[in-house]
Symmetry: C2
Subunit: 294 residues, 2 copies
Amino acid sequence: MKAEYECIGCIIKHTQSLIEKADKTNKISSEKKFEDYKKVISDLIKNLEYGKRPIELSVSQYDSIYELYGKQDFFINEKTNANQIFLEMYDDLFYFIMNSENPLKTAAKLSAISNIIDYGVKNSFGELEFEIETMAKKRKFAIDDFKSFNEKLKTAKKILFIHDNAGEIVLDKLFIKTIKKFYPDIIIYSAVRSAPIINDATLKDTDEINLKELSIPIESGSVYPGTIFEKTNETFKNIFEKSDIIISKGQGNFEGLNKTCEKIYFILTAKCSVVSQELNVKVGEFVFKRDVVI
Amino acid sequence: MKAEYECIGCIIKHTQSLIEKADKTNKISSEKKFEDYKKVISDLIKNLEYGKRPIELSVSQYDSIYELYGKQDFFINEKTNANQIFLEMYDDLFYFIMNSENPLKTAAKLSAISNIIDYGVKNSFGELEFEIETMAKKRKFAIDDFKSFNEKLKTAKKILFIHDNAGEIVLDKLFIKTIKKFYPDIIIYSAVRSAPIINDATLKDTDEINLKELSIPIESGSVYPGTIFEKTNETFKNIFEKSDIIISKGQGNFEGLNKTCEKIYFILTAKCSVVSQELNVKVGEFVFKRDVVI
């Protein structure tokens, strides 16, 4: 999908939060922060080209930030914290899924719901768990291609699951567990980013949540948020080609993979006006959409 | 006051809302908006210099926007609407002021409170009026130099009131009315911007609220938000010099005039982290501060 002008503002806003993060680790002077911010935006402007995908535009931002502050894992604590919080409700949520009318669809919905959750999440005495379950009961997918997914599952041998953020990867694991419950012979690969980038899941997170008991974790080759096929590694490309179904989580992966392959099912929450317009849904709505290639 | 790196993000965010406004009046293509936004940010970057005041940095943004879309009054409807809403509660609020323990201070507080209100304000069956009165009763100035102001009033002959936004100018008028009630001989000048810029008050607004029945409206010479003394016109400079007290409303005027003249009393609500840090108050707090020149 094409980036709109609003995406520029969004990237710049995000730059600010990255500088804030860097400032927390190693106190930076007011003047240096000013000059750094100016430099990142200046680099970004040079790279802005209409027609590119949003995640392509943000690449230069990360390069500039790394150049300024080194390759830090800025969100390491938030990620571990989010994994921990969701692991605590893992068993309860699996019980909730298996006792629902359509466990597979419920599991898919929980995975979509988890996509709302950004870093800074807190679990206060089961409230978050209750909220997730209530949302799963009350709300429907605004785009619902679950039926075709369900059909394809019956004959699928290999699935590639492209994850998005830490924390929510625990609810992706629940979806994988539910698939394996009904189709134990399907082999599932779990692709995560090849380097720490914002709060996106990496192999460290798949370890923390012991994902390998259900699927095979791999690095996608992407060192930026989202997934652009041409920038993935050979293993990922190979598994992508050979899989019968690809599950793509979140906006970043959607931005990169939208309109590329009909094997893909996008699960996400539309978080901004640009993505929601592209999908023709409202901001905040859940989507389970099979990719359409025109 | 010096602009911090956060100010850059704030200016860029505002650019986006100006493009949105322009888009509403004359539909602009997705590609042109993208290129326009890029151009405005690019111009802005060239103008960014550490040590300048926030409002100085934003000047290039307005120049670029005007260059792209012409000199439009983007907020004309919002301004008239806001004036109308506050005029409706004018008499009630004056009654409230005069029946309070310290009418002058209450009037000053109402003027500060009105500074929270941005465009898009709606009055729903007296709710806003009730909220304003409750706030005036419950909350104190976080910085309170009212005593010294009150002392100076006793001998003052001329006051220059530098206004900020449309809508809130009605509550400034109430403050002026209260001053005139106790000191009918003081001559008050009301400075507004010389051109429509965001929702800042202009002579059109002083006309709409009939300010001239109490004070003498003048244009400050400023065609950008806020007031930078060097960029004001001769009339303004002259009245500035000859006034015994200067009342400066809002953040923009504070950004430009802070630490320049001890005759100034700043009335504002701290709306962002940069201004609140400069003042050492919390975001959202009300300030009645005499200027300090070091």
